[in-house]
Symmetry: D2
Subunit: 307 residues, 4 copies
């Protein structure tokens, strides 16, 4: 079975959770979405992410979705599952479940109650003990968690815990952090750095030493293109493509609205059947849909110009 390692690279797409209009799980759309992500060039998937609709699922629904995705992926790429939880008993139960079902690793965000450097280190020590030998992604997303993890703390976690294989980098601004982590001597071993924030800084992040992206965006091909062209040495081409998608990526990055935009785009592209969000989420207004339509129209024109 695939296990997540320090070699993780490319684009791990954060998977959406498709629903029918009435809020029920739409597993057919889930299958289509998995195929779409992999066809687009995703090198991995991440499920049960903190910012999506995973918290709106019951535990049984979570398991149903994860199993469906794992079955559809069928080992083609590694699948990471978010297992952040208020207590370690829940975290362990969730981690054991998804690893048994075939996940490649888990992702753990720090709870907002952690305040000092030592508290953060201690928390990950305890979490790692609970989840056993499951490889884990350290999620560094201060805007959402309220926890600021300095480079020295990441270094301590990497040195102490061999199961920490990847950093989901979502600090903002965070380019200096990538440079510091890639400075020889900072970390005792090289881990994977995959970046979030909707890919809005991906060209700069790649140049600073990131290995790719772990985030969502209705056009994952943007991230795939940027990573591929950057690694092929075509930084200029990477930026041209990035710039073409940027107006929409910027629009999708609005907090609290982004998921509705993403689902609208995925539905518009025929990937999922319905753009519906579960309550208390709400879909896009007519004005917002028209704005997205215009952005996509302009994006397609610009991509055609670029060839």
């Amino acid at each position: 079975m695939t296990r997540l390692t320090e070699e993780a690279r490319g684009v791990f797409v954060i998977a959406a959770t498709p629903f029918h209009e009435d809020g029920a799980l739409d597993l057919e759309s889930t299958d289509r979405m998995v195929d779409f992500y992999l066809d687009t060039g995703a090198t991995g998937l991440t499920v049960l992410g903190m910012m999506g609709e995973a918290p709106k699922l019951t535990l049984e629904e979570s398991r149903t979705v994860v199993r469906r995705i794992l079955a559809r992926v069928d080992g083609r790429v590694p699948v990471v599952a978010g297992v952040s939880a208020p207590g370690f008993a829940q975290m362990k139960a969730l981690s054991d479940m998804v690893m048994d079902d075939g996940a490649a690793g888990v992702m753990i965000a720090p709870p907002g109650s952690l305040k000092t450097d030592d508290q953060i280190v201690s928390y990950y020590h305890q979490a790692a003990e609970f989840i056993g030998d499951a490889p884990f992604v350290l999620q560094d997303f201060p805007l959402a968690t309220g926890v600021h993890i300095p480079v020295s703390v990441i270094a301590r976690i990497v040195a102490d815990l061999p199961t920490c294989v990847c950093l989901k980098h979502e600090d903002w601004p965070g380019l200096a952090k990538i440079s510091a982590l890639r400075e020889p001597g900072t970390l005792s071993r090289r881990i994977s750095i995959l970046c979030g924030n909707g890919g809005l800084f991906l060209p700069e992040e790649m140049a600073r030493g990131a290995d790719g992206a772990m985030t969502g965006f209705g056009y994952p091909e943007m991230m795939v293109d940027v990573v591929r062209e950057t690694e092929a040495g075509n930084a200029g081409r990477a930026r041209d493509l990035f710039d073409a998608y940027l107006p929409l990526a910027r629009y999708e990055q609005q907090p609290g609205l982004g998921l509705a935009v993403r689902k609208y785009v995925l539905a518009r592209r025929g990937v999922i059947a319905s753009a519906a969000l579960r309550k208390p989420g709400a879909g896009l207004s007519a004005a917002a849909r028209a704005e997205v339509d215009l952005l996509i129209e302009r994006q397609e024109r610009r991509l055609k110009e670029l060839g």
Copy 2:
């Protein structure tokens, strides 16, 4: 089956979750604790509270604990279960489960994402729709939730949602809010107001119009005494008793430490077998235990003086 109503009064003790030293559930201690609370004069119990160790339980453990408590209570007093959850699907699943198992009502705290008056009202409308006819307690605890619920919003919720039967009042400072809610004409119907904050303001809260307390404290008899003596017209006696317990109640009210103090007290009194907290919680230091011992010794002396 007992259902929570607007007539709820007295002391609803927030139940602790007893563990063995190794972190496993201690159901024998749970039984003893239920008996202790009821013998002490509790008129209700509240389980799965937000601030306790409920979030550290797996879903199965939660159900086990709730069922054990309901079985032991056996209809003698109403039991309220916290069902706050990130999404309504989870909330509904949890609410249906506990109501089916015999709970008298549920308690719902607002998520921190709610910012404006209208958002709060709308959230409770949706929640009430999901939980159906289960009576619910509106939990008003800004220090923990970050959501400030003005009197006018409580009035709108009470007017719109007949299943809202009780306010768990834990605003701080909040005495003026009780007075405003009890002002004739503020609410379209009288609901129960039970107060939190470890009982630290119970004499004043009762004088302002509260119906009792819904909170924990290692000596629930303090709250029972204050409510009883106040209702019997012996306000001076109520305050004498309150003052005797206040040094310890103050000590227990330290955020992040209170639960460890409470469990230490319950274990010291022979109610539960172990004061152990589940990780990442920690027990009391030797210095803290000595401080609590001293406070209890002085408290007992003072109570003897009062006769």
Copy 3:
């Protein structure tokens, strides 16, 4: 003397505060910067903004800077001064000072302690009473202030306080708010809406009914162009120009780093002598400067293509 009115439109540039390398005020650069902003097409200036370096100035320095800017502007455009303060006595003193010196109006952000709709309305009532007949801009910037101001509260403030003439709109996401405010019947009178957030959503904001921008960006011509072309009916041209500047605008919008980017750009363009920030601020790293240089180079090429 120019007074700010409901007719305010176009681009009010948030002025930076130029320093010498040693941290002393650089008034010659301040003059050049004023000329630059006005030559670029600014229809107003805003000084002593909350997010800039104004809080790092002593009161005397603040007055020196404001007077210098007012003298250089010499009535050509209205100048708005931020007067947010912990207490009304300070706010009044600051407001009286700048209005006496010739400012056209003041800007007031709500303090983070305001939690409910009524508290926000009440605060602006008191503030308006203290500042007397000075026209004021209501600053709506939840990400920075923590205060969420719903449309209904803005409507109450506009209805109650005739001196409220403009909304600095910086909610995020906030496009729906502009639409709601421009819906006939929402406000009792039309006020100016000028948008913030570094201009990152300016095309959409203009389409929703905004009157322009009040924000900073090292290339204010972007905002001037977008407003002009939108008003001339050339929405496509507006977006083409916007898109050309977007990669840099996105880079400048990084929280905590943006001001350093802006000053670097202004210094690079010869507008100010030094990009220095006052401590505890820090300038850009060599890597960041190279990133900005590349973005500007690409931006110039793209603008040339667009003609």
Copy 4:
């Protein structure tokens, strides 16, 4: 001139700012208040505290108040002035002003923007450089500042900055922090630890190694008594007295209401002429005044019983 040193001990009362009913400064009451504090046994005073009404004063008013207090104290006890400010230029200006006027030291709270251990240390390095040789108090008050300062960070500041002579300890819960700081070897030199939080934990804080209190309370004699009796070896007597004042101290500690309670008590005792707060503050309701009156009546009775 008195300078604050590591030997600071006893009770530094946080001085209120007396106003006339119309909000103007009441300097006669200020004189009386100083005399009252010193007669009660204060060993120091603290002015311009973060949580009082100092932020409501204009800069000129601040200076007037500080000079008046310094003149009245006339060197009898050291006076500490709060100089926390958004920028170092303001902090330095304020610090120079009060030290020139005769203050014994200054107090600096960390701004909420500091997130990691290193950022906190770095901030105090810069602050200490700006204020020169003025002795300073490190204010550790996470509930208000949002900044959590671990023991190891305090140790680094004490080791690096000889002008750091005192910790205003207001962490909550914070007893373990005092013990850790007093553990031999933790700090490179002994500094003074004076505790806040309205004195609510003073007996325990003294037992853990604190040197006294730096906080307000309408009856400073409580703190003076507790410190004196503790130092005289009469811990039981200290607690008896403490317990007598506790019901009122608890009432005064309500956030957002405490200052109104304190001023009401000071006015009731004839210390200041008016209990008025500057807007947007508000005074006590009739119900609250009656509650305080009752608490004082009971307190006096209990103190009489204790002899």
